[in-house]
Subunit: 203 residues, 2 copies
DNA sequence: CCTTATCTGAACGGTACGTTCCGTTTCCCC
DNA sequence: GGGGAAACGGAACGTACCGTTCAGATAAGG
């Protein structure tokens, strides 16, 4: 959108790269999912469509890179807060805030939506993208197990499925905001079950 | 797809109505979300596009009607099974089976995806479609409260958000199948919390 | 009988997709 | 210093779908 850009020769132009991600960022913030098309991004970025397709095979790939960029900017690791309750609540609420305050929420909604129409996108979402996002939670659960806050045989995957499922549900129905302590109570309930070793423990 | 249909005069032709829903059903089963376009449905049904748009303002509306039709065919009410645990597990597993065995799962994925690109579709999904689906669960929770299985002030909305959030997550990541007793354990954990009146109870 | 509403089919302008070709720029290597 | 090689923007292409409009045909209902 600024001055004219062109090739810088034999290698990739980082300005072009940034301009395209910035354009996607702005379109996402202004018009949501529907406003983001490869054509619109190219127009806004002052780039050629072949340039987009040279670096990103699909719109989903572009959105994923945008999401990761925002993530490293806005989302920090969760430090040791003394209890799994506090840490998990901080994690979930941090993610919700991230989704609300940045275009990342829009991007993520788009990525999920796209995955429902494209099998390859679904596999990449489930097998590469989501596991990366679970890394922070895994650290928290490791600490919790070391503290003895959850049983050694607790079904951690199920616990995370429930927490992220809840988050997805709120995101996809546009209800991230209604925080009447729901996250706190949900985490408390799940931790209680995971500690007892009864219900959320391995089968 | 069968013989030629035409107007039957002054009133709506039920064969046309059925043929369009059947065509959507088949396309959904064969090609998933991506295979369903208003054009493709019209072609397969041997119908005119104006006919589709006369009765359904959007693809989402068509998919919702298709979903409801399948639902009344495949999904029954949950009878009194003696415990909320059994009933909720039966409900959730029934829904998962419904999503797996019929095109309804594809339809529902499409409806959710569409809602991420269209605000009107999102509102209709959240404020009309989903509440209808919660009716069965509400009956179960009423019985549970009458039995004293969950506290009178339990946060029923949160409980359902968690259960359906989990189900959505599994549906949208195409992992409805891996039942290692996950549903049973999740329901048990939530019911325990809702009975204690501590964590899942009203704030 | 004739208004009225339905149906199919064809066509329209608009948007986006993903690709191809072109001419230009500049680095990298010889 | 010269010559690929690869990147860049721009234009155009064919395909697909969108949602709408028009035409022509059908047949119920008053």
């Amino acid at each position: 959108m600024t001055d004219r850009r062109t090739s810088i020769g034999n290698s990739r132009n980082p300005e072009t790269h940034a301009a395209i991600l910035d354009a996607a960022h702005e379109l996402l913030a202004e018009h949501g999912y529907a406003g983001v098309s490869m054509e619109a991004v190219a127009r806004r970025a002052g780039a050629g469509k072949p340039t987009l397709y040279r670096w990103w095979p699909s719109k989903t790939a572009l959105l994923i890179e945008l999401y990761e960029r925002e993530k490293t900017r806005a989302l920090a690791e969760i430090p040791d807060l003394g209890s799994a309750q506090k840490e998990l609540v901080a994690l979930i609420k941090g993610v919700h805030r991230f989704w609300r305050k940045t275009p990342a929420g829009q991007a993520f909604r788009s990525i999920i939506a796209e995955a429902q129409a494209d099998d390859a996108a679904l596999r990449s979402l489930r097998d590469e993208f989501l596991p990366r996002g679970r890394a922070t939670a895994t650290v928290i659960l490791d600490r919790a197990q070391a503290r003895g806050e959850i049983a050694p045989d607790a079904d951690r995957e199920l616990l995370l499925d429930v927490l992220f499922g809840f988050s997805w549900y709120r995101l996809l129905t546009h209800r991230l905001r209604d925080d009447t302590g729901a996250v706190e109570r949900l985490v408390a309930a799940l931790l209680a079950a995971a500690k007892a070793g009864g219900s959320l423990a391995g089968d």
